[in-house]
Subunit: 182 residues, 2 copies
DNA sequence: ATTATATATATCAAACTGATATAGATAGCT
DNA sequence: AGCTATCTATATCAGTTTGATATATATAAT
């Protein structure tokens, strides 16, 4: 997805600063996508200069100033147009679409070059790690207020449920079939 | 995973040209990882100049010349060293690890901006697409001989099985819960 | 006092991709 | 025979993106 469309989409959930957009990528979106500051800040500047977002400079008492961006009518129109135009391309992506870029799968591919006890440790730690992920996805407690907007999206509920299901069946498969790697 | 380690790993399965390594990424590895020609060719040149691989220029009668690379003892040692050293980092990656980069999940996140009939089409096509993927992973027929080496790896059997399981439970979830998106 | 951490924006070298260039061969169509 | 398309094969490069670093202020912990 174009960085422009993505930033507009996140701003459509409510006004935010670049730093806060990054926090979304590191929090609730961290398993699905990310953009770096090096992409976010130039994108917001470009969107502002082309009037897709407006910007208010806020002086905060105990924190540095921040620039809060709000999506404009023009920006919402562009976002909708881009989503519609590119929807068909996104059907074939990620999490069994084109690419997963899984370093873990690559490591398994070359598992025969690891000492057996290393492989054992690796698989044990992977299981632990996935169990932790599962807890994270299942956790329904309070989140920082500026992230609650995301949490409340119907689509986030759907995606969290899907992620939970996928991790559970992956864990199950690993526990039943890890013997095949030796 | 470092491109060096990855290329050495693929060459450890048998001597290959840069073009043939790319074919692996576009064939049996396409759902898990990829590198472009712009990365593969410079990497092979660097590995050769540092004696991690040797190179034979082959004149072919009906095709362009090709450079076939073979991993050396020094190269195999480096590969094993790197795999061991980085193994713990790869435990927390992809397919529920750090990042999926799923354009499809992003599209769902903004599903409310799509007309209802578009969303319906998108979900239907995603189901069809995943069903096709499932067939691909289940297919056990003949593959080009230079890719058979990969197919025969124990780890590939494990990973294909895992992918099949994940797609199946993902499909199942989507069919049962798609109503939650409207 | 010092170190660590958090908020906040900005920049940049290094890495990587996607596209394009080059070149010989084959295959199908008219 | 000529034309277009596609495949094998290597190479290069502009444009994009990341990961790291710089800058600045403030709080919390040791």
């Amino acid at each position: 997805m174009q960085k422009d469309t993505l930033c507009l989409g996140l701003l459509s959930l409510g006004p935010r600063s670049g730093y806060e957009i990054k926090q979304m990528f590191e929090g609730p979106l961290s398993d699905f996508y990310s953009l770096s500051f090096g992409t976010i800040y130039p994108t917001l500047n470009k969107l502002q200069s082309e009037k897709y977002v407006s910007c208010k400079q806020l002086s905060q008492s105990k924190k540095p100033d921040k620039k809060v961006y709000t999506i404009t009518k023009k920006g919402k129109d562009l976002m909708k147009e881009n989503l519609l135009g590119d929807a068909s391309a996104y059907i074939r992506s990620g999490n069994f679409g084109d690419q997963i870029k899984s370093e873990f799968f690559l490591l398994l591919l070359f598992a025969k070059y690891l000492p057996e006890e290393t492989l054992e440790t690796v698989l044990n730690e992977r299981v632990l790690f996935l169990q932790q992920k599962l807890e994270q996805f299942k956790y329904d407690g309070p989140v920082p207020s500026d992230l609650q907007a995301l949490r409340n999206e119907k689509s986030i509920t759907f995606i969290r449920g899907l992620a939970t299901t996928l991790i559970e069946s992956g864990l199950n498969y690993m526990e039943k079939n890890r013997g095949k790697l030796y």
